[in-house]
Amino acid sequence: MKKSEQKQVLEKIEALGREILKEIENKENPKLEIPIRTRANIYFDEKEQIIKIGDKKAERYFLNTAHAKKFMQTLLILGYLKKLIEKEGRTLSIRQLFYVLRHTIPGLKEDVFNSQDETDPIIEDIEVMLDVLRENLNLIPTPKGVIAGPLVVYDKKFKQTIDYTKQGAAGGAVPAIVEADALEFKECSAKYVLVVEKFATWNNLNEAKYWDKENCILLTGKGQAARAERRLVARLAHELKLPVYVFTDLDAAGYYIYSVYKYGSMNLAFLSEKSALPTAKFLGFQMKDIKQFDIPRRSWIKQTKWDLKRLKELKGYPWFQKKEWKKELNELEKFKYKIEQDALVAKHIDFMAKEYLPTKIENKDFLP
């Protein structure tokens, strides 16, 4: 984090503290104003094509039986984060933060936090309240992404250069903090970024040297993408002007994973402006691919109740209202089956690397 940015965050925390202290001294009921992060305050910005958080705010009062504890918890975290940032450079995971702050209130036989379930949402509250990403609060998310391909980066903190063509079978890990002040793109000859849903798919393609043959960056977020993967993909697209293609299962969950890369998520709508990537394209697996690539009947799995429920929800989201997507979703609903990426190897172990993906990319056969 740049010094100026850091100073800004510290000032924001202090200003908030001053405001509350003033309320206390004026004998007012001290309060925090927190933008609401529930569905009710989430909207889809048609113009920018991203999911955004609205301007509805919830007030959290100290002298209110229902709010008091959360109010106290929020301030405890804010107070601690200020100390953490002042100490410079050191970062904590959100679980570590929970342990650092956890203690029993003297005389009350009650812990300030019972579980991490209580600290996590408050960290998100603080992010939206201060309009600061947790990375800038020296809190690291837990990345799980794996990356391979012709990309060389420089880790500023550790002063090391990492070449993602030389990471072997395991691939390179996506670092927790991928902001420009921590990670610098040195070289990149890739033509596009291929994001795959599953690690198994990534592994299959890595073994087939797909990224070498196709000259692309191959990345997986292992299911639903965490913040670091999304942010990295967004940076690759914006800064290196690379097209991004997303390849998932043919089911509601797969579609949603794509939509999070593209438009942002509802839970972290406040991140969208930095992390969403409206130019991302959906490569597959698509309904029409079943016929075109002759996916055998034995590879189909019945959709579960949960799949169907999720599909219905998807149909209701404003960012799934493009006609191509309406059609896709309707067909999937009628189809009553789903097809996982893993099923495609049943045709041939290199079916994805040698047939499916090259064909799709060559024909630009994407959904918007």
């Binding site: 202090e14 100290f62 405890l76 804010l78 005389g107």
Partner: protein
């Protein structure tokens, strides 16, 4: 048939000692524990009655000037031990005052307890008694330790009052004759057992200890106090005065002191302890001060909370609806009225001359018949005719309630409850008998668990707790509706005392031992309504208290969180924690008051202190 009926028939034929033996259970002497309470009860009742009668006799401007002060002084006078030889009783040690009286193998001897530990010759035996630090004894005969078994201890009770006193010549009659007294066959709310109460206590004392009763009484300021020592000649049902003395240190201008020794059992606590009995008596006699000196010398005072005697009860003539054939026949036989018409209109209540004629024609009886001439059949016809005729209810203003306000004050003082509510229902009737109920609920404070205080005509009922009208009514209240948790049998599950008083000219007991009131629907209904009315007020109190508690807990919590907020804000703005905490305290004080804040501070301090102790233990 009532006890009185039995007594009147039989007292001439059998010796009263024999009668007493056969009827112990009816008189309240069927166990030593019960006998102890009964003796005290009879003496205290007598004192309360005497004081009330005195007040009635006083001119208006003198009334309520002298309120009852009743002192009950109980001492253990004898410990008795049997000496056993292979489980067979071979002798006895009686410890009385500073003496040991030993009898062994038919020989007797006495020595002072200060010589305990030395050998004494009794007959041909060396007897030695050792007393240990706990005041327990051990007995050695010819140097060999003997097995001993504790027998029944003997007690002496002194009951003193500042009542009117008793004229010297009346004392032997009142205390020495069974059935003497003015209560017999009267229809009036009264405590007594038709004149057998105190005399039966004297008799029990005599039968169990062989010692006489001592009665001291003084009737006026310038009159001497006489002390009369008497026993009952059981063959003649008459007192035998052993000694009459004049004493000059009687503590009041007038009053009576009775001293009795008896074999008993003493409990220092619990439902059947003397203390509990006297406490319950004190609660329903708010005008009386009752003092108890227990056997360990502890003195307990239940001070009067009212400065006025209760309204005296009135005597009424029996109402036909409440008559039974036996009673009617007895009245017919003993009346001085010359004609049946006169008898009906003057000996019974609510029968006018016109109504009397209607009854007589229904019963097919002549108005000028001599009451004594009626046969059993005719009496039965008369009773049925009366009960089939529409009559006014009996007058109900004849009862002497405790009074809701008086009861509330008294209950509050004597139970040290946190909240007390009382309800007095208007009088009504069951089977022609006027009655009324009064209830009280005492909640919280020093009360632990559920206690049911039952009274009939101001007498505490200690036995057969879960039978009768009062218990039944309590289980029918539906406590849950009034925010009081309830057991599966419908009893409230709280720290609570439920008090119920049934006052009537004739209390219907479930049995002759007079332990519980019969569950007549009218009585149960009145009790239930009274308890529900009281419970409504309790529930209002409970919800107010609940809100208060919630508020208190809220402030406690805010303060505890406030100490954390102070730390957090100190980090955020870089100021001293103490300064911020002061500001938070001021905020809480401003919003919830200084008492709530200081209470919260205290709670937290105590919590921290306690945590300190706990961690030290670790």
């Amino acid at each position: 048939m009532t006890v009185a009926d039995k007594l009147s028939k039989r007292h001439k034929e059998v010796s009263i000692a024999e009668f007493f033996e056969k009827n112990r259970h009816l008189l309240g002497f069927d166990s030593r524990l019960k006998a102890t309470l009964t003796i005290i009860k009879e003496a205290v009742d007598n004192s309360l009655d005497a004081c009330e009668e005195m007040n009635q006799e006083l001119p208006e401007n003198m009334k309520n000037k002298i309120l009852p002060i009743i002192t009950v002084d109980l001492k253990k006078v004898e410990d008795v031990y049997e000496i056993l030889d292979n489980g067979v009783s071979v002798g006895e040690v009686v410890r009385r005052g500073d003496k040991f009286e030993v009898s062994y193998q038919g020989r007797r001897g006495t020595f002072k307890s200060k010589y305990a530990g030395h050998n004494f010759k009794i007959g041909g035996y060396d007897v030695k008694i050792k007393v240990d630090d706990d005041n327990k004894i051990s007995v050695y005969i010819n140097g060999k330790k003997k097995e001993i078994k504790a027998g029944y201890p003997k007690f002496r009770v002194k009951v003193l009052d500042n009542g009117p006193g008793i004229v010297k010549d009346q004392i032997p009659k009142i205390f020495g004759t069974l059935l003497y007294g003015s209560k017999f066959t009267r229809l009036r709310q009264s405590r007594g057992q038709q004149g057998i109460g105190i005399t039966s206590a004297v008799l029990y004392s005599q039968l169990t200890t062989g010692r006489p009763a001592v009665i001291t009484s003084k009737v006026g300021k310038n009159k001497p106090a006489y002390r009369i020592t008497l026993t009952i000649d059981t063959s003649k049902n008459k007192a035998q005065v052993l000694k009459t003395e004049v004493v000059d240190d009687f503590p009041y201008d007038h009053g009576t002191l009775i001293e009795l020794e008896f074999e008993g059992e003493y409990r220092s606590r619990g439902d059947k302890s003397v203390e509990e009995y006297l406490k319950r008596t004190a609660i329903v006699n708010p005008h009386a001060t009752i003092i108890f000196k227990d056997i360990d010398g502890k003195k307990i005072v239940w001070k009067n909370t009212s400065k006025k005697y209760p309204k005296p009860p009135k005597e009424i003539k029996p109402h036909p609806y409440g008559l039974e054939l036996g009673m009617l026949m007895k009245m017919l036989a003993s009346t001085s009225r010359k004609t049946l018409l006169d008898f009906l209109t003057k000996e019974l209540s609510r029968i006018s001359v016109n109504t009397a004629y209607i009854i007589l024609s229904k019963a097919d009886l002549k108005e000028d018949m001599k009451p004594q001439d009626l046969s059993r059949d005719q009496a039965e016809r008369l009773l049925k005719a009366m009960q089939r005729t529409k009559l006014l209810r009996p007058p109900t203003d004849v009862l002497s309630p405790i009074g809701a306000r008086e009861l509330e004050k008294s209950l509050k003082q004597d139970t040290k409850a946190e909240f007390v509510v009382t309800v007095s229902r208007p009088p009504t009737t069951y089977r022609g008998m006027p009655f009324m109920v009064e209830v009280g609920i005492a909640y919280g404070g020093e009360i632990t668990g559920l206690k049911l205080y039952r009274y009939a005509n101001k007498i505490p009922l200690l036995y057969e707790q879960s039978s009768g009208a009062i218990f039944k009514a309590v289980t029918q209240v539906g406590w849950r509706r009034y925010k009081v948790p309830e057991t599966s049998s419908g009893l409230p599950q709280e720290n609570i005392i439920l008090l119920a008083h049934v006052a009537s000219v004739w209390v219907p007991y479930t049995s002759e031992s007079k332990s519980a009131i019969a569950a007549y629907p009218e009585i149960v209904k009145e009790l239930k309504l009274a308890f529900q009315e009281a419970a409504r007020k309790l529930s209002l109190y409970l919800s107010a208290r609940y809100k208060e508690r919630i508020k208190k807990e809220k402030v406690n919590r805010f303060f505890a969180y406030g100490t954390e907020v102070a730390v957090a804000l100190a980090n955020m703005v870089g100021e001293k924690r103490e300064k911020i905490l002061e500001a938070i305290k001021k905020l809480l004080e401003y919003r919830y008051g200084s008492s709530a804040l200081s209470a919260a501070e205290k709670v937290l301090e105590q919590g921290i202190a306690k945590e300190g102790e706990e961690s030290e233990e670790e």
